[in-house]
């Protein structure tokens, strides 16, 4: 997580602190924008059925499949938009897709 941004624009940033015309001076700052609350459906992981093939990680458009030591460990729900692509491609029934409560 890179928080060392030159200009960290948040919902508290005032007009004096923001950049002219919304210039984005740092790369990779989509991380700062929590898109998790867009979600209507969420993926559910059944660890016992998971083969850790990590194809879910490959297809995730939001980099929201968390992997540690070559194994799936969970989801980044701050950024998962609930598109369901990971659950659709899982051939082992290890990923379910349920309505967000």
């Amino acid at each position: 997580m890179n928080k060392e941004r030159k200009v960290n624009i948040t919902n508290e940033t005032t007009w004096k602190e923001t950049t002219p015309g919304g210039v984005i001076v740092d790369a990779g700052n989509a991380e700062d924008f929590k898109t998790g609350d867009w979600r209507a459906m969420r993926p559910v992981w059944y660890e016992d059925k998971c083969k850790h093939c990590l194809l879910c990680w490959v297809v995730c458009p939001d980099n929201s499949i968390k992997v540690e030591g070559g194994k799936l460990v969970g989801f980044d729900f701050d950024h998962c938009k609930g598109c369901g692509v990971c659950t659709k491609q899982c051939k082992f029934g290890a990923l379910d897709f349920v309505p967000e409560e």
Partner: protein
């Protein structure tokens, strides 16, 4: 050494652009602005400038290409008029809000309809709230001088806004006048060899520009844009002072002509000021206390300064070469009267719509306006919203 030359307004602007040698010019021809890109494309073809000339397919594309080039950090110029400016409309706002400085020479021409190629101010006055700085010039000299200063004003780190340099179509754009041009070396020194962009799409520290701005951030960016326009007031005067040292020609927010003890004053914009000054001289010779204010900077509007300049008059006629169709008065009238509120109260104020679609504006028109003002002072009776020079 500066040199005396005889040039049309469009030639003066095109030769000025050649001296500035911008990185990119993207333009589409439209009467009476056509000559500007036409002459400039010859300079490009002859290798007299190093500019990338982009002959686009429309003014919307011209402005879009200019924004892209300015976003890349380039020094950018273009020219248009009338319907061409109208076609740029959507992207004018983008140029201002993305804070991409550039210079746009506007050869003022009436907007359709009915279709008309001659001069009035409906084009640039329609764009007055697009976020651009607007400079107006009476003649070829002022168009040239404003062009030079516009580069510096727009590119100033505290401003970073695009600038329109407006001058009257045909009257100024095509009439040949004597003017003084700077030496190429002086222009280079004044505007700087190249633009120093504080942020750009390319370079050592590239940035992203023009992102989607939802309700969380749009308002803050607009507020910051408003601050840039406030900063422009100071910068305009600083640049003018520096330009005066170089040329001896003095520029401010507006020119005051025989206003010291004036009882009746006219406020207007651009070439008609020359005709009006002749009338001021003639009436002064008869002992009448008349004066004139010619507005040079319309955006930002010099609110305090214009109120101060009018605080001792008894009656003022604000003349618009465009109607705002609010059924009450033109844009200059609205701005001046709102500037006067609370600072120069109790005056007789009249608005005259004049010269639409290139209708000749004569000394008789100005004599009539001054006569009406004195009549209003005497009788207290007058109309606020008037048309002059139209067949009744």
């Amino acid at each position: 050494m500066a040199k005396r030359v005889s040039l049309s307004g469009n030639e003066a602007v095109a030769f000025g652009m050649k001296q500035i040698n911008p990185d990119v010019v993207a333009a589409f021809p439209i009467t009476p602005s056509t000559e500007v890109p036409q002459y400039f494309s010859q300079f490009v073809a002859n290798g007299e400038v190093t500019t990338e000339f982009v002959p686009v397919e429309s003014e919307h594309s011209a402005m879009s290409a200019c924004i892209g080039a300015a976003a890349a950090g380039g020094r950018v110029m273009t020219a248009t008029a009338s319907a061409g400016l109208a076609l740029m409309w959507e992207v004018l706002y983008v140029a201002a809000s993305m804070r991409t400085p550039m210079v746009l020479a506007v050869t003022n021409r009436a907007l359709s309809g009915p279709i008309n190629i001659h001069n009035d101010h409906s084009d640039s006055m329609g764009a007055r709230d697009s976020g651009w700085i607007q400079l107006y010039g009476e003649n070829a000299q002022e168009a040239y001088d404003n062009l030079m200063q516009a580069v510096r004003i727009g590119e100033h780190p505290d401003v970073q806004l695009p600038v329109m340099v407006c001058y009257d179509g045909f009257i100024t754009s095509h009439a040949v006048e004597n003017l003084e041009m700077l030496d190429d070396a002086d222009v280079k020194a004044f505007v700087g060899e190249e633009r120093k962009a504080p942020f750009a799409l390319i370079g050592q520290e590239p940035v992203s520009m023009g992102p989607l701005d939802l309700p969380n951030h749009y308002f803050e960016h607009k507020r910051l844009q408003a601050e840039a326009m406030k900063n422009a007031k100071k910068v305009i005067l600083e640049v003018a002072a520096e330009y005066e040292k170089l040329t001896g020609r003095k520029y401010g927010f507006f020119e005051e002509y025989k206003m010291e003890d004036a009882e009746a004053a006219i406020v207007l914009i651009n070439s008609s000021a020359g005709t009006a000054k002749t009338v001021v001289d003639a009436l002064r010779a008869q002992g009448k206390k008349v004066g004139l204010i010619k507005v040079r900077v319309f955006r930002p509007f010099p609110v305090e300064e214009i109120a101060e300049a009018l605080k001792n008059v008894k009656a003022v006629a604000i003349m618009d070469k465009v109607d705002g169709f609010n059924a009450a008065g033109g844009p200059l009238f609205n701005e001046v009267v709102s500037a006067m509120y609370g600072k120069a109260d109790g005056k007789i104020v009249q608005n005259y719509i004049y010269g639409l679609g290139g209708r000749d504006v004569t000394t008789y028109n100005f004599e009539e306006v001054y006569s009406n003002l004195f009549n209003a002072i005497e009788t207290g009776k007058y109309e606020v919203y008037n048309y002059i020079g139209v067949r009744e």
